[in-house]
Symmetry: D2
Subunit: 355 residues, 4 copies
């Protein structure tokens, strides 16, 4: 079966929007038809809207280059953007903008979003592939509640993604009581406005990321509701370009050996791949036995940035049935745009997109 | 009362030995009289022994320069070094060398060491100022057991120092059941043979430091024996020059508020300062209310690198009576040579050094 | 003779202004009496004006802390600031602000500035201690031309400072025809608005600093007019916190040996020190024979950041009478506020400040 | 025409040898048949020889993984290695080893080498594709002189590669009198034994790379003999993983405009591509008009690391007919193994390999 969906990207000139462009251009199912951004960028082709007015240089921050076809799409004003006719809108705006725009888009159209605006609403599922895609059923309630033909589905905060991906197989196999996590997050997670200054992070660690720990604690509970686990997080910023490295201590529901835990990681079901989703990696969780791994620079790109990589699985002697490990997750691939595209692919095969 | 002690440094050409030179030159009580290193360096003045045979450049790795007087001291062969006549030997060799040399030195002389060789012996105290200096009494037993006129007193691993300094006031005020720590350690802790390659740490984190976690767990228990706390550690290496940053989650003996915990830190008794020890900082633990602190680059040099700095004190929702915080400790000042000198100062005023 | 001058700092809350606070608090001659900044900061004590409105954290970017006395000084609005009664105003604003404010201040008061606004005016000397302090005589012409009781004296761009300090003794001893320089500049030179993002500089070099090369080329010629040397510069940004490292190739007026060139550097006259200027370092130019020096991290703080450090002096085989070397200069000490204070000290002893 | 050659890699376990493995596995013409290394590694399959004896971790430093087929090849002792039967030996040993081994291999077999041992011999061409491949004719003289059936062809030092690639079109179009270059070299150029310590390069620049400047100056002249240009180099090490960034000032034979120079770069003949060499990039020299480029992190991988990227082309006011620019060249792709493979491809189509 050949699938074909028309999509728009809102917030397309920002760093998250550009990542959507990269994740979607050349996609076998999704075709970028329209782009929107702030009023300032509207009315010009995407390629021109990207130019720095001072220097004339293209403000483009992804490794891969945007396709010529995308550069020629005229940018529309997001505040006036009418998505009717599109199958999906990918929303990459700041949360306050999303708060206003996304409900308007959802009246007619499916919205998959990296913004946090609707993550905590009771009728909004917070979806992570292979973890809680059954929560997608909430979409029916959401439509009914709100009288929408479309819907809003956000993905979680990028620090949450790798954490729930690794906690889920533990919860399924052994039960999960609680987890303590210290996150060492890459610079790209802070974006560019304002982002992290080179002066501040060189030879340094920033021990605080505003609101991040609350998001981690709240979102994990929402994503793994059947496992009433408490999560306690400390989130720091380190001088790493991409990739969040997390040091996890988990209290399991029953005693398990290191080998059992590694086996649980390695045998996790990769439903996204089974369903033939184009963005799903062959290996959902990669487990290293080499104690010097995972390293963010060496492991963030595993599976095209879609694989979560785990290592240093050891017993913990403090928590009940304690087990500790480190993980690396690519915060701007699986943890952002590409992860949202994977969610959209899932929604497509499950019939949530009208096409 | 004017104090005056003659000291020698063994392993003087290495990075830890050089730090002893810096901590001791210009010291009001201790006078560097003799230096020893490996046979290769022996027989030449210190200044010449430091020269790289290939390039002729001085292999000196501290910010401060060695004094002319020290550069002129002839280096002796550590394997043949007889410390008789010295009041203290500061030992900065690798553990396997210390295993052989330190007992020989201790027959006649007090040895204060950064090596791990004797840390786990039952009659050897592992001393941290203001934390467990009462353990110094073990020295009497050690001398008796071993028939030594001198003794061996090691300081703990540098990741342990800041941890026990901050856990002690919590244990005293509230009791302490357990602690979980993720350490993000600076490069200088790895030394230079082999140390960490620039290629390996740029844009990266190394998730493993061989033997470090076992040391943290064992040494904390030995230093805080009256608080039967389990410690669980994950130790990583980050691209920071100096300073270990530790993310701590502690289970207290009773419920405490954030303000009580901050108060416990701020009101910790600074006995080292009360005793007039020259290397003791005015502030033993500095507590930040600013959530963006502590940062290793901004806080490692507090109190000349002798102050432990704490911040982000918050309640933890996973551990019983849980409290979490971050700390920064200077691993090559308080955590190494200067910390050992502070221990020696304490031993001096308490009469353990013959003078 | 005891000297005593009252000073004000304009642009005091910015990074350059903060460096003036550090360079001036505790100064034996200059006493900080007044502070000014933008209207936004005005009306509150300096300590409060520094607080981030969002987080409440103090926005302070120097290693040293501001003194309590300074923190209590009320911040005035620079646009309404009347310096009458002060002996010197230190101006640390952006160039467009300086363009308007500095002439107003100069009607009554001496202005020493890090801004570029007046650097290229014919009656404005661009002063570097020990290089061209005789240009200070232009102040008389400036006053006459403009009808000012005070004057404006800017210091040059921070990439220029180390370059002219090292070119001057070469020009004096051997003549100077031209110089080619590739500058590898530290992050602090870019400031914070916008400054350099961590994302952009990690594992990278930025090959362009807008307007910097033109400044280098123009300002060098103005500072060294008796040596009609052409300067050609390429200025890059590297991932170094502080310190500009410059690779210089110089065409001398006559053939000289490496030893002669080193001797010229080492025997440079340190008039600033001879005059007893408090901020002058004991060593004006430090020359390394060790080919692995100068390094910015190891050499930028020489002489409290006021010494220019040179190394790798070798013959160049392309330029006529060519000689090549590297230098390190501290861009935010000698190259900015502290350098401006040194100029002010010189002007004081030469009688240019009314006191 | 289908080409097929059997190849061996000597020095295969080192970092340069591993890069040959990556450049050759999956190559359409060359098939890795044999591997050699030091005696210590000999006698075991490659996959086992890579294991760290202490930790059991695989000592593999390339981003791409070695193929299973390669991992199973038994490693031979390079000192006893007889290449008879192979079409090419790729030599990646240290220079002192190459000095002994390469002449022995060349008795029977073509040797393409990254070692410097034979670079300066009169009958040995130092080959750079699209620059001086006509020098390959020297191979006939070499064979005759030395009585070899094979030959030795080294590639130049990695700092030379991008420099001569960009100087050649300038020399051809305008003539070239001389060039001054300041190189800011990536860490991977220093390898791992000893390489650059993280401690030494963080927040720093190392101003000296032993022997590098002499190599640059000598090798450029050998590669571009028809242009009797003097080259003067200063080579530094910066905290960049891969990619050498070079600031070049060139004296041309006649006056040229910036546009003419850009045109010369852009219109350079890409003979390697015309000949269908598999490793040749589509774009030989990429020229940026954006003044913020080239940047090593963004441009080193252009053309799979085989394209040399140039930017900031401007007039220089010091050198006669002066022009200045920056370039980025990938030191471990085009500048090392992949560049050597490209040379071997050229030699293959020109009939220098027996097959």
């Amino acid at each position: 079966m050949t699938r074909s969906y028309t999509v728009g990207i809102v917030g397309a000139t920002g760093i998250a929007g550009q990542q959507f462009v990269i994740a979607l251009q050349g996609h076998p199912w999704f075709s970028i038809e329209r782009l929107a951004a702030s009023e300032r960028s509207a009315g010009r082709p995407f390629g021109q809207a990207l130019l720095d007015p001072k220097t004339g240089a293209r403000r483009w921050w992804c490794q891969e280059e945007p396709a010529a076809k995308v550069l020629s799409i005229p940018v529309e004003n997001g505040d006036a953007f009418d998505p009717e006719g599109l199958d999906v809108v990918f929303s990459a705006t700041e949360s306050d903008v999303a708060q206003v725009q996304e409900p308007r888009f959802a009246k007619t159209t499916a919205v998959v979003s990296t913004a946090s605006a609707f993550r905590y609403e009771a009728d909004v599922p917070l979806l992570v592939p292979n973890v809680n895609m059954d929560h997608a059923e909430l979409i029916h309630r959401q439509r009914k509640n709100r009288g929408w033909k479309g819907f809003v589905v956000p993905i979680p905060n990028c620090t949450v993604t790798g954490l729930v991906i690794t906690l889920k197989p533990l919860a399924d196999a052994f039960g999960l009581r609680s987890a303590i996590v210290t996150a060492m997050n890459g610079l790209s997670g802070a974006g560019r406005s304002p982002g992290v200054m080179g002066l501040d992070i060189l030879d340094n660690i920033i021990p605080f990321i505003p609101k991040e720990e609350e998001k981690v604690q709240t979102e994990c509970r929402k994503i793994l509701p059947q496992h009433p686990a408490e999560i306690s997080a400390t989130c720091t910023r380190v001088n790493v370009m991409e990739g969040h490295t997390e040091s996890v201590f988990a209290a399991l529901g029953r005693r398990a050996s290191v080998d059992e835990v590694k086996h649980a990681f390695r045998s996790v079901r990769n439903e996204a791949r089974e369903l033939g989703l184009p963005t799903a990696p062959a290996e959902w969780i990669k487990v290293h036995d080499n104690p010097f791994r995972p390293q963010p620079r060496l492991d963030r790109d595993n599976g095209g940035g879609m694989t979560t990589t785990v290592g240093r699985v050891r017993e913990d002697n403090v928590l009940p049935n304690g087990m500790k490990y480190l993980l690396v997750s690519h915060n701007t691939r699986m943890g952002a745009a590409a992860g949202a595209v994977l969610v959209a692919e899932y929604l497509a095969v499950k019939g949530y997109l009208h096409s």
